[in-house]
Amino acid sequence: MDKLAFGLTYALPALGAALGIGFIGAGALNAFGRNPEKLSDIRTLMITAIVFSDSLAIIGIVVAIIAKFI
């Protein structure tokens, strides 16, 4: 059960982050399709948004490691 908890502590945030990043990417690609000139602006905004979503998954792995090894 402990091993299941360790696995899930990272797996669930990773699931959320994967879905979130998928939506962000889809939105960015749609925006690029409508306005192909603004590629670099869209890229910057997309990376900023992806980082916000990704950091929650990273905090998940840190919590999992802390709970298991300390």
Binding site: D41, T44, I47, T48, V51, F52, D54, S55, I58, I59, I61, V62, I65, I66, F69, I70
Partner: protein, 280 residues
């Protein structure tokens, strides 16, 4: 179970371990690696600035200049006000290059193997929460200072505490801004710490799992770590700039302050080359 395969015992310690004490002060392995990365940072940038001032260029200087100008143009993209962009640039660029060099030190071979009195010597300072919190707090204080310079102290407090009778939605927004300050900077520090710490643990576990085959398997993960280090340093840099822009530019348009005698703050840590053209 991993210890069955392992050539080495895996000890994962969240805090960085003490190597030796100097007059009662614990010097940890992250501090030693951090000093090394500081020395590398200073050597590279003093060299580049001296060569550019003397007018002699080569490919390495061209590379540093390209990275520098790229980041500077990113700042101009986020902050339209040229005076403020020039002011925030030294701190933001110093953070970018120093976090980058510190993160990249986590790849050096011998991550757990080189020990001194049983304590591993190499550990990137970005994997030490003291460092990441310190630079996040520096960013927080600097953003507040710029906000106070722009709006005045009362105006700055009024960003957070708005009158609930005249503007109820604004009052709620103000409370959210207050919570947002804390959460943004904690996330800034935890993101960098989590990425670097998890990267080091990944390298240790891959070494333990593959044994002698790690000669072939590790360089792939080291390249991955280089890429992630670049992304995380860029993200720290651009988020600092974005938070400054958000704090200054509230409810309509930046105003260049004509009253301020622009004391050009030359932060001595960012010995940047004189290649920045006069943009005024």
């Amino acid at each position: 179970m991993i210890n069955n395969f392992a050539a080495l015992d895996i000890h994962i310690s969240l805090a960085s371990q003490t190597l030796f004490t100097v007059a009662g002060f614990n010097v940890t392995n992250a501090m030693v690696t951090g000093t090394l990365s500081l020395v590398i940072f200073l050597v590279v940038f003093v060299y580049v600035s001296r060569m550019v001032a003397a007018g002699r260029y080569n490919r390495f200087i061209g590379l540093i200049q390209w990275a520098f100008e790229g980041m500077l143009s990113q700042i101009d993209g986020v902050i339209p006000d040229k005076v403020l962009a020039r002011k925030i640039a030294p701190l933001a660029l110093t953070l970018f290059f120093y976090v980058l060099i510190s993160y990249w030190m986590s790849i050096l071979p011998g991550l757990e193997a080189i020990t001194y009195n049983g304590v591993p010597v190499l550990r990137s300072i970005a994997a030490d929460m003291n460092f990441t919190f310190a630079i996040a707090i520096i960013a927080l204080v600097i953003v507040q200072v710029y906000a106070i310079r722009q709006h005045g102290p009362i105006g700055n407090v009024r960003r957070y505490l708005r009158n609930p009778l005249k503007d109820p939605i604004g009052a709620f927004e103000g409370i959210l801004e207050l919570i947002g300050e804390v959460s943004r900077y904690s996330a800034l520090s935890l993101r960098l710490f989590g990425n670097c710490f998890a990267g080091e643990i990944l390298l240790i576990i891959i070494t333990a799992l593959t044994g002698y085959l790690s000669v072939a398997a590790l360089p792939v993960f080291m390249a991955f770590e280089l890429f992630i280090g670049l992304v995380q340093a860029y993200v720290f840099f651009i988020l600092t700039v974005i938070f400054t822009a958000l704090a200054i530019d509230v409810h309509g348009g930046t105003q260049a302050h004509p009253d301020h005698t622009s004391t050009s703050d030359h932060s001595s840590a960012g010995n940047v080359p004189t290649s920045v053209p006069a943009r005024e």
